[in-house]
Assembly symmetry: C2
């Protein structure tokens, strides 16, 4: 096996830049651990003159990353541009076709094109590694592919987005509104300064769930439309009321095999304050797998930021340097099966519903009548009047009901002049 590996890094943003530094600092250590020498022979970024913490070596810089293949012999390419398509897809495809191993933290790319890229890597007998795409520094993909390799996993879930978890924790701790806390998160670098939408609306966590499902259940990445909700509608008041009820709001990603069908979802959940998952706070991520014979396994760690991400990118690099050629999804693409999706309408949960209504007689019974019409039975009602504004808040915790019933029932409340806002719905976990 060869002794020296040429590396290229495409994209020098927060992640790519940090990685570039780490690779230079840890060159010796990597040689000690693997017996292989590495050299960064090419780097590329869209904007060469952007302010960075390090100097760009002009001799190895390329404005057009596609040029690299013509001028340099590359063994391993890091893609850290971060698009689901465009140049990210182009460069990864091209590299794999040229028998260059690829390492990427790009969850959007893998969740969308992982199946095809994986086939391409297998065909060309090179590695496609994406440990950093899910849960930052937590080596969850490696754990599923290797550590838990012969277990039968039936469920995998957890807190997969550090930004939203930080926002929810901080709202509870400081009593500050969503908007204020979001701005703080942006200042601290936890949320994208420009467009944090993909974190907040659940898309980021969803891409991770798709990757986790494919690995845990040995299936192709599911294309079906799933239940995805973000935290944009969670208000401080919901967090306060939840807290009084001994609950806490968490954005959970859940993937589960239900009666042979795949069910994937991302949505806010109310979890007990005394539960394990209820105590994973701040930017922490946690992934819980339920498998046989191993039982329940929990992995927790920092889920965001260049440090943890870089830790995972380097673990992928070491794996390649040690000569471990592996199927990107643990087993050969030809053996990964398509799986039918579970019908979201049949997903059942207890619900937390918060209504803001006109403080007058008859409104509560209007609500309960409509709930009962859809066979949604009530477990608990808390009505808090706001005399000054002639309003009242009604919080209802229901027994388990299906998505379809809940949706149909709630839609009835959209046009009533006594009900001031469309009811807030948060599902209870378990």
């Amino acid at each position: 096996m060869k002794k020296k590996f040429n590396l290229a890094i495409i994209g020098l943003g927060q992640i790519g830049g940090y990685l570039y530094n780490e690779l230079r600092l840890k060159k010796k250590e990597i040689e000690k651990k693997t017996g292989k020498k590495i050299e960064i022979v090419a780097i590329s970024a869209k904007n060469k003159n952007k302010k960075r913490k390090f100097k760009i070596n002009n001799k190895i810089f390329y404005s057009n990353p596609l040029k690299i293949f013509k001028e340099k012999k590359i063994d391993i390419l890091f893609e850290s541009i971060g698009l689901s398509d465009g140049m990210s897809k182009k460069i990864v495809e091209l590299a794999l076709k040229k028998k260059i191993s690829v390492i990427t933290p790009n969850k959007a790319l893998i969740a969308k094109h992982g199946d095809k890229l994986s086939e391409l890597a297998e065909k060309n007998k090179v590695n496609l590694e994406f440990e950093a795409s899910v849960a930052g520094g937590i080596p969850i993909l490696r754990t599923i592919k290797e550590g838990l390799a012969t277990n039968k996993i039936n469920k995998i879930y957890g807190i997969l987005n550090g930004t939203t978890n930080y926002i929810l924790s901080e709202m509870e701790n400081t009593n500050e509104t969503f908007d204020k806390v979001l701005k703080k998160a942006q200042r601290l670098g936890y949320a994208e300064p420009g467009n944090p939408k993909l974190d907040l609306n659940g898309f980021d966590a969803f891409a991770k769930i798709k990757i986790l499902s494919a690995l845990a259940f040995n299936t192709k990445i599911s294309k079906s439309k799933c239940l995805m909700e973000g935290i944009e509608n969670i208000q401080l008041e919901d967090i306060r009321i939840a807290s009084q009820l001994g609950l806490r709001v968490k954005l959970l990603g859940i993937s589960e095999i239900i009666k042979g069908h795949l069910f994937e979802t991302v949505h806010p959940c109310l979890v007990g304050k005394n539960t394990y998952i209820g105590n994973v706070n701040g930017v922490m991520n946690a992934v819980i797998t339920e498998g046989k014979p191993v039982g329940e396994s929990i992995l927790q760690g920092e889920g965001a930021g260049p440090g943890p991400t870089s830790s995972s990118l380097l673990s992928d690099l070491l794996s390649i340097l040690r000569g471990n050629t592996k199927y990107p999804f643990g087993i050969s693409s030809t053996k990964r099966k398509n799986i039918k999706s579970f019908n979201n309408n049949n997903y059942t949960n207890s619900l937390y519903l918060r209504f803001v209504v006109k403080d007058k007689q008859g409104v509560l019974s209007l609500i309960t009548n409509r709930l009962s019409k859809y066979k949604i039975s009530v477990k608990r009602i808390i009505q808090t009047p706001d005399k000054k504004n002639k309003k009242a808040t009604i919080v209802i915790i229901t027994h388990k009901t299906s998505e379809i019933n809940a949706r149909n029932c709630l839609s009835l409340f959209s046009k009533n002049k006594d009900i001031f806002k469309f009811p807030t719905l948060i599902r209870l976990y378990n």
Copy 2:
């Protein structure tokens, strides 16, 4: 690379027997995941006629495991006898010399002879894998060797023994004495029916800490005498008092680099009820690593029993079948360094001290005077009289003090007729 691998299992107790079944059940799945066929061509046990859940195939059974090498071609050998020396050591050495890869859950063997066995494996270019030796189903060794490979770890600690954690949790939950709960643990198969001593006195957790240190810090296994205490002296009363103080007793294993020296210990600790580690209960294990750049990582899972152990043994098998030859301790033995040990005398903690004394004037001041003589300052005192028996319980929480001061000071109390028992000492974590 070859397509078919011959396996031998030496030792058919709880672990070996379960493994034997799993391998037969998962043969097809293993072939699917690795492209390699496996066949169990030899098994061996001390007592052939012991009652087992499966029938022994006489054609592959050997009373004397050493005979196997003469009659069969073995590629991978599972050692599940469990001794630190004797036949365990003999058979593993012999196998490695014959270029047979070895997989073992035997922590006593690895903690004692791991350095030499690892050199032997490297010399003969075969694998020596022992994922199952630490924390059952939690793939912690693989995570350190691969997932966190380029991190600088400075501390690794956790709950490493499921038996003692079950006993402590159960005592708190049921208010039953140590002896009663131990018997229950034995009935449930969590504690050895014959001799549970190695779990209870901390030895089992200690062997695991030694293995973790060597992996986390890239050092040789330390031979120095360490601070090891078990849970035999923890009484129901301590658990009750701790609970009133918002604390919980846990047996922690801790390995840390302090000023360039290695500090390893296993002892009961008082941890906050609201902390993460304070909520790892029952037979669960948890391992926490602190590293850079990854930050804090937590792995939690079932730490005992044949299911989780077998999950780890099979992950080792898959790793070998996939052709991943690796240094047993992550890096070459020639590069693992010896490290000096931290002087235990300088280990400092806040202490919980429980005295049972004669209920008469002057005893409390006698105790506090002696503490002050050794510069142990008191944070909190709780005195509870037991008028009927003319006794009193005095619980003292101290500020931080060194081991040497605590030991010297407490020794003064051994010969006083007003102090009914040698004071119970439990260290507070952090």
